[in-house]
C-alpha cells in the first residue's frame, strides 16, 4: 500500500511542478494575444488595456498563476482568449478524441506486437526473426510524418478510408450502432498509422526481454522437466518477461501521445494536436497551457497505471 500512495503522491507533485513550469514559460513569453489588435488603428490603446486587465494579463506572474489555479479547481482551466469562454469545455471533446485514438492505437499496437515479439524471440536467429528485425529497423527509420502522409495518400487515392474528421455528413440520422460504425471507420486509418509507428520499438523490447527470460536457468530446468513448449513460453517465460514490458507500457504512453498529436494534424483527426498548433499560432496561451497540462496528465496517468499493474503482477514489489 505504501508503494501505491508513494507513486500517487509523486505523480501529483510532478503535475504541480509541470503546471507551474509550463505556465511560467508561456506567461513570460514575449508578445501576447493582443499584439495583432495593437496593429489595428481602429482599436484604441485603452480598449486593449481594459481587455488585458480583464483577462488579468497585466498582473504579475504569481497572481496570474494563483488566478489560474483557482479556475483549474473550478474546472475551467482559465479563459480562452480567442473564443472568450472557459478552456475546459473546448478541450473536453478534443481530449476524448485524442484518448480514443491513442487508446485504440495502443491496444492495436500491443495486440500485434506481443505475438510478433514472442514469436521472434522463440525463433531467435531463424529467418522469421531476421525478417522481423529487418522490418522493425526499417520502420523505425521511417519518419512518422512520412508514414502518416503515405497513409493520407492511400486514403485520397483509393477512397477506401475517409481522408479526415471523425464523422461523415448526416451521421446524426443514424442509430447508435451506425454512429459507432462510422466512428470506427474514421478511426481506422489514424489508429493503424499510429500503431504501425509505435510497434517496432515494442516488438524489439518484447523480443529482447523474452530472450532474456527464455535463457534464464529456471527455464532450462523447466525444459528439463519436459514441459511442452507452448506452455513453457506462455506460462513460464512470459510472466517472467512481463515486468520490464509493463514499465515499457508506461513509457510507450509518452511516445504514443506525441505520435498521436502528429497523426491528428496530418490526418485531420479532431484531437488535441491540431488545437494546440492553432492556439500556438493565435497565441491563445491558456489553451496552450491547458493542452500541455492535459497531455502530461495523460502521461502521468499512463505511468501510474503501469505502476499499479506492476504492483499487481510482481510479488517482489508487494512484499517490499
Amino acid at each position: 500500500m505504501r508503494y501505491i500512495t508513494q507513486r500517487f503522491f509523486h505523480a501529483v507533485l510532478l503535475l504541480i511542478a509541470v503546471s507551474f513550469f509550463s505556465f511560467a514559460l508561456l506567461q513570460l513569453a514575449p508578445g501576447d494575444f493582443f499584439d495583432a489588435m495593437r496593429l489595428n488603428p481602429q482599436i484604441s490603446r485603452q480598449t486593449i488595456g481594459t481587455l488585458r486587465s480583464e483577462y488579468g494579463l497585466d498582473k504579475p506572474l504569481p497572481i496570474r498563476y494563483e488566478r489560474w489555479l483557482r479556475s483549474v479547481l473550478k474546472g475551467e482551466l482559465g479563459l480562452s482568449l480567442a473564443s472568450n469562454s472557459p478552456v475546459a469545455p473546448l478541450l473536453r471533446e478534443r481530449a476524448r478524441n485524442t484518448l480514443l485514438l491513442s487508446g485504440a492505437a495502443t491496444v492495436l499496437a500491443w495486440l500485434l506486437a506481443l505475438p510478433i515479439g514472442i514469436w521472434a524471440a522463440v525463433k531467435r536467429g531463424g529467418w522469421a526473426d531476421r525478417a522481423c528485425g529487418l522490418a522493425t529497423s526499417t520502420i523505425l527509420a521511417v519518419p512518422d510524418l512520412l508514414l502518416f502522409l503515405a497513409l493520407l495518400l492511400l486514403a485520397v487515392r483509393t477512397g477506401w478510408f475517409p481522408t479526415g474528421g471523425m464523422a461523415s455528413a448526416g451521421v446524426d440520422d443514424l442509430d447508435r450502432w451506425g454512429r459507432l460504425k462510422d466512428v470506427a471507420f474514421h478511426l481506422a486509418l489514424p489508429a493503424m498509422g499510429l500503431a504501425l509507428a509505435t510497434m517496432p520499438a515494442l516488438i524489439r523490447h518484447i523480443r529482447s526481454s523474452m530472450i532474456e527470460a527464455l535463457e534464464s536457468p529456471f527455464l532450462r530446468a523447466a525444459r528439463g522437466h519436459g514441459i511442452p513448449r507452448t506452455r513453457l513460453v506462455l506460462r513460464y517465460a512470459f510472466p517472467a518477461a512481463s515486468n520490464p514490458l509493463i514499465s515499457l507500457f508506461g513509457f510507450s504512453v509518452a511516445t504514443m501521445l506525441s505520435a498521436s498529436a502528429l497523426a491528428e494534424i496530418v490526418l485531420s483527426w479532431p484531437g488535441l494536436g491540431p488545437l494546440l498548433v492553432e492556439s500556438i499560432l493565435s497565441r491563445d496561451v491558456f489553451v496552450v497551457v491547458g493542452i500541455v497540462m492535459l497531455s502530461s496528465v495523460f502521461l502521468v496517468a499512463g505511468n501510474l497505471i503501469a505502476d499499479l499493474l506492476l504492483f499487481a503482477s510482481d510479488p517482489r514489489i508487494r512484499t517490499e
Binding site: 508578445g31 503515405a150 495518400l153 506525441s258 500541455v292
Partner: protein, 343 residues
C-alpha cells in the same frame, strides 16, 4: 571483420551525404529561391543516354518540358530537342560552405530546358537544389541540437552522478519534469513561448535551442548511470586515495568512461532532432519560406492535390529513410565498440 567493413561503408556513405549537403551550392544546379513560374510541378527530369533514334550518347542529355495533353496542370518531357548535361558550369553565385563566393556548379544544362532531378515545386523551384540547401538547415539543426543536449547531459549527468546528494536529487527531479511531458507537446509548448515571427537566422538558432534544451534529461540519466558505476572502480578509488582532487578524478578518470555512451546517444539523437525540426517547419512554426528546410519542402503535401498528383514531392521524405537507417547503423556500431567496460 565483414561487419566492420560494412560499418565502414555506411560511414563513408554518410560522410559523402554530408559533404553533398555542406557543398550544396556546388552540387545544386540552381539557387534555392530561383522560380520558374512557367514550369510548376514539373516531374523529375530523366537523364537519357539513348535518343529516340536509338543512338547512344556518352554525355547524358535531357528533354524539355511541355504540358501534358489530356491532363491539365501537369507537365511531361517533350521528346524533341536534346539538351546535353554539362559538368563544372558557371551559374548563379553562391557561398561555398558559407565562406567563398563562387559561381561554379557541378552540373547544369545550357538552354531553355531546366534540369530538375527531383522535380519542381509549385513555383517551379528545383526540388533537388532546395533539398540540398534545406539539408544545410535541417541537418545542421539536428547536429547542433544533438550536440547541445548531449553536452548538457554530460555536464549535468556527471555532476549529478559524481556528487550525489541534494544536487543529484534536484537535477534528476528537474529531469523528470522534462520527461513528464510528451515530447512533441513539450516541443510545441516551448516553441509557443518564443515569438512567432522573427528573422530566419533567429528562428534557426531558436529551433536548435528549443530542441536541444528539452532533450537533455535522457542523456543526463544515462551518463549519470555510467558515472555512478565508474566512480566506484578501483583505479578511480586509487586516484582518490592518492589525494587527487574531484576535478582531476572527474576529468581524467571518470569522464573518459562516459564518452562511448555519449557518442552513441548523440548518433541516436541526430535523426530524432532532424525530425523535430522537420515536424516544426512542416507545421509552419519552424523555418519559413523562402528558406528551404526539409520540413518546408514537405509542407506542400498538406494540400490534397499536391499529395495525390505529384509523387516526387514525397522524395525529400523518402531520402530521410536511408539516411536515418545509416545513422542508426552507426549508433549500433558505436554501442558495440564503445561499450563502457563492466566492473
Amino acid at each position: 571483420m565483414t561487419k566492420r567493413r560494412k560499418y565502414r561503408g555506411v560511414l563513408i556513405l554518410l560522410a559523402a551525404f554530408h559533404c553533398l549537403i555542406l557543398f550544396a551550392g556546388f552540387f545544386a544546379p540552381y539557387d534555392f529561391a530561383t522560380q520558374n513560374r512557367d514550369v510548376p510541378f514539373a516531374p523529375p527530369t530523366g537523364l537519357h543516354f539513348v535518343d529516340a533514334q536509338g543512338n547512344f550518347h556518352a554525355r547524358p542529355f535531357i528533354y524539355g518540358l511541355k504540358s501534358n495533353p489530356g491532363h491539365p496542370m501537369t507537365l511531361v518531357a517533350e521528346q524533341g530537342e536534346k539538351y546535353p548535361l554539362r559538368f563544372f558550369v558557371q551559374g548563379s553565385r553562391y557561398k561555398l560552405a558559407g565562406l567563398f563566393n563562387v559561381n561554379l556548379h557541378f552540373f547544369g544544362v545550357e538552354g531553355p530546358a531546366p534540369v530538375f532531378l527531383m522535380g519542381s515545386d509549385g513555383y517551379g523551384r528545383d526540388q533537388f537544389s532546395r533539398f540540398l540547401y534545406g539539408g544545410q538547415i535541417s541537418l545542421l539543426a539536428g547536429l547542433l541540437a544533438a550536440f547541445l543536449s548531449v553536452s548538457l547531459g554530460i555536464v549535468l549527468g556527471a555532476v549529478s552522478g559524481f556528487y550525489g546528494g541534494w544536487i543529484d536529487a534536484a537535477l534528476m527531479r528537474g529531469g523528470e519534469l522534462f520527461l513528464a511531458l510528451p515530447w512533441l507537446y513539450l516541443l510545441f509548448a516551448v516553441r509557443a513561448s518564443m515569438p512567432l515571427h522573427i528573422a530566419a537566422g533567429q528562428v534557426f538558432l531558436l529551433l536548435i535551442a528549443v530542441i536541444g534544451l528539452i532533450g537533455w534529461a535522457r542523456p543526463a540519466r544515462l551518463i549519470r548511470g555510467v558515472v555512478l558505476s565508474a566512480k566506484e572502480r578501483n583505479f578511480v578509488l586509487a586516484a582518490k586515495g592518492f589525494g587527487a582532487s574531484d576535478g582531476y578524478v572527474l576529468c581524467r578518470h571518470v569522464m573518459p568512461q562516459t564518452y562511448g555512451v555519449a557518442l552513441t546517444q548523440m548518433t541516436l539523437l541526430i535523426p530524432q532532432y532532424v525530425l523535430a525540426e522537420v515536424t516544426l517547419s512542416f507545421l509552419g512554426v519552424g523555418v519559413g519560406e523562402p528558406m528551404p528546410s526539409w520540413g518546408t519542402l514537405l509542407a506542400a503535401l498538406q494540400q490534397y492535390y499536391v499529395l495525390s498528383s505529384y509523387w516526387w514531392m514525397f522524395l525529400p521524405a523518402l531520402i530521410l529513410v536511408p539516411l536515418f537507417l545509416a545513422y542508426y547503423a552507426v549508433a549500433d556500431a558505436f554501442q558495440e565498440r564503445l561499450k563502457p567496460a563492466t566492473l
